[in-house]
Symmetry: C2
Subunit: 162 residues, 2 copies
Amino acid sequence: MRLSEGVEWALHSCTTLALLPPDATLPAARLAEFHGVPPAYCAKHLQELRAAGIIESTAGRKGGYRLARLASEITFWDVVQAVESDTRAFRCTEIRQRGPTAIAKARYSPVCGIARVMYGAEQAWRRELEARTIQDAVDSIVRDADPQVAVKALRWFQEVLT
Amino acid sequence: MRLSEGVEWALHSCTTLALLPPDATLPAARLAEFHGVPPAYCAKHLQELRAAGIIESTAGRKGGYRLARLASEITFWDVVQAVESDTRAFRCTEIRQRGPTAIAKARYSPVCGIARVMYGAEQAWRRELEARTIQDAVDSIVRDADPQVAVKALRWFQEVLT
């Protein structure tokens, strides 16, 4: 199984936007450049994030993208759900309703014991992602990043935001 | 994202084998018939389950498959891992090492804060699957199944196991 690659990029982009000074915006081309990805790839996922109300864009010469709400109010789950078209790993095809023991559809319990366990595990995954926000990602970057990266990022921001 | 369809079938097959009388075995063709799936599909996954030490086969005229250990000692995770070639949903492509802030590889922390959250969520998913066994699936079937299914299954077993 595999989450769309866009999930990684979208999480990094939201984290980058969270690091911008207040009221600053970043054009899509700059976000793509910052993460070393093709602009078209970037544009697709920015649209998804905007449609989900996670980021917003401003028009004009200095227009670009920024977070639509506080980083502490954007969960990992919000971002995953915005980019991943299908967040379910397990699909139940109702195997129990086939073969020699099949009975009338109406007589089956809504969810079989096997699907219930699989869905429960996915709920646990989702709860973890709901409990973490983009602010947590910002905090860990500020805590863990090499000072050299911080200096380079600061310089790059100063260059592109002026 | 999506788990292989074989996961559902493998979980149902292990549960069916757990319902057999002690020492009974079921030929692959019968397991396929019981679940209404093509025999070739079934054979592939039975091989995976056998390679993982979850089921075993007996030779001879009355040969077939049975669980290799107690149903209470086979977790959902054991079965998922046996059938799914890749149980990781999130792949980190080290986006942080690209673009204008890139520094020498050796200076990055082993895992970035974004990947750490994503991996943590997958651990929560895995822990849930490790905590549930095929015996739990058997118990829920015995509890929830319509009596009509139970009667049909019993008749079918009597027919094929004699």
